[in-house]
Symmetry: C2
Subunit: 339 residues, 2 copies
DNA sequence: CACTCGAATGTTAGCGCTCACAATCTCGGC
DNA sequence: GCCGAGATTGTGAGCGCTAACATTCGAGTG
């Protein structure tokens, strides 16, 4: 009893189930289910009747019940390593948008210094997407992912794991080449933390590019991405050798701080030293001087990440081109070195 | 059949259910459920036996099944209006952290220009939290929230809705007072979009504060929060009356662009014009000149938001003090007007 | 020492959906 | 006008859990 056939229209809870729809449309609950899921073999007239019934009693399928029955939640977990940074956070948003468009929900899981996948409720997601990972995060993750499909958004593509990336190497080469073309020979790299994949690739590109030109790379200064760090370096007379004429900073924030630090010491950018950043923050064009930098299209990255993941999840052939190409944006923080 | 008592240990799917635990511990599934939920009347010995069994077969309760049975998901939806902005995004992160600590999951739901609550799967969340809302978003929302508890993170506290806020009015007063104390009398406000609650409150504070001093407020220029807008205003000779000696910008980004625009016209900050921002972006201290601004503690805001929401959700007495106090940070973009 | 009562545990029935299978219907071909 | 292959619809069970009620157990009472 209390089954489908009784006279009830809506249960007290206000919830409407497929049984209510079925009853109203004069079909079985299973037929309703088929209509919902776009099953092929449904007579047109029946489908219409069911759809009308659904609309009339304002029926909405329960994702929870569906998840229980199918053990697929249509929800993906997104771990953002350093969520307050512009890059990760805009990537996250792009992923989220794309996910919603694909009919998936997004479970946000940020992470301080440890990844606690138990709290992350891994069982309630169909897949996991990790943004801007540090190497340390990655290894913790690998050990515990326990069956959930995984996609990495990171610097260097990985062999055995699904991943997408902005081509950090190419981006860094753009930056260095720009300085070389301007005539700089004494170029320093203000790098990101050793533990960050992006940082490492950029640093490697810097060294290799200079070496290829027969120039000696300086040992990179390793910062923490913050403008504070850049400021410290810029304002400390001992931090950067005097003969340096250009600095390639691994991100815009450190570049900003660096310029500030230089300014305090009376070193002018670009007159005395040129500075290139990385990221192209929305505000970088209004820094003083407007910053020459390498633009990463984080939105495209996020979209690519999600579509790649969903393709894999639904067994479709993966799209090709898992690398986004960055782009050099020349502004006013770089110039030819003084004769 | 295939019920509890049969000899199966783990089902092929690799999933372990309370029945598996029950069997192993020699109790009924319901007893297991009681142990999981910390039900009082369980003999200590039984509890231990069950807990051991859970550990041995690595049992983890299914949130999905629990959600279906209880119709509570322990998940909250968080809508972020303009997710790429620093404020909203760091508030979001704080909320997320606090949510996880409280045992809740977070469903990210960003929103472009419309709020599509159907896609938002409102049925799968216990409550909704909306960050940095525009008035238009609010009204759409109010019409469709359909029973889900709602918390607003916004500028002006609301009577009939749960809400938390940074005291925008007080913050704006700090900014204007600072300029007044420096001796400025011709103060312009570079405001945010009309549709934004925060922007409106700041603009109102500006006008009222000046009026209280017997000064004539200028009609605020209404921007779109971007540094581009600030730049346009700053570089356009017609945009700002010449006699103005100080500008209170409604956020740091517009302030940054404004300074850039002034710079292009040869107007020096703070020598010729003082500029105050709002937010205290992490990089604001390294702008040139370092920006005087009003700091909002977004992290505290997010934490407050979530605890308030959870308290309400679980029927606890709400904490008092739903307003976060902002703080003036004086740097180098403000000075006394030239004699 | 039967008797009551609360503590501790078990039993049954869903939550709203899908899956696997069974049943019925429809129609072309002979 | 009958048969079989699809097309279309229905039936029962179960996903893993909790809620409500039923039962058992042990100790305190008169």
């Amino acid at each position: 009893m209390s089954g489908a056939g009784t006279g009830r229209t809506r249960r007290p809870g206000g919830k409407v189930s497929i049984y209510d729809v079925a009853e109203r449309a004069g079909v079985s609950h299973q037929t309703v289910s088929r209509v919902i899921n776009g099953h092929p073999n449904i007579r047109e007239a029946t489908r219409e009747r069911v759809e009308r019934a659904m609309a009339e009693i304002d029926y909405h399928p329960s994702g929870i019940a569906r998840a229980l029955a199918t053990s697929r939640t249509r929800r993906i977990g997104v771990i953002v390593d350093s969520p307050v940074q512009y890059g990760p956070s805009s990537t996250f948003r792009a992923i989220e948008e794309a996910a919603v468009d694909a009919g998936y929900g997004v479970n946000a899981l940020s992470v301080g210094d440890d990844v606690d996948l138990d709290r992350a409720r891994v069982q309630e997601i169909d897949a996991l997407c990790v943004i801007a990972p540090r190497y340390s995060t990655l290894s913790t993750l690998r050990a515990r992912t326990s069956g959930v499909p995984l996609l990495l958004v990171k610097a260097d593509p990985e062999h055995d794991v699904l991943s997408v990336a902005v081509d950090q190497y190419a981006g860094a080469v753009h930056a260095v080449d720009h300085l070389l073309e301007l005539g700089h020979r004494r170029i320093l790299h203000l790098g990101g933390p050793r533990d960050w994949a992006d940082a490492r690739v950029r640093a490697r590109a810097y060294s290799e590019r200079l070496a290829a030109e027969g120039l000696d790379p300086y040992p990179p200064l390793l910062g923490d991405w913050t403008s504070d760090y850049g400021y410290r370096v810029g304002s400390d007379p001992a931090a950067i050798p005097d003969e340096v004429t250009a600095v390639f900073a691994a991100n815009d924030q450190m570049a900003l701080g660096l310029v500030h630090g230089f300014h305090r010491r009376g070193i002018r950018v670009p007159d005395d030293v040129s500075v290139v950043g990385f990221d192209d923050l929305p505000d970088a064009r209004h820094f003083l001087p407007p910053l020459t930098t390498v633009r990463q299209d984080f939105h495209a990255l996020g979209t690519l990440a999600l579509t790649t993941l969903i393709d894999a999840l639904e067994g479709r052939a993966p799209v090709e081109g898992r690398m986004i190409e960055p782009e050099l944006v020349v502004r006013a923080s770089t110039a030819a070195p003084r004769g």
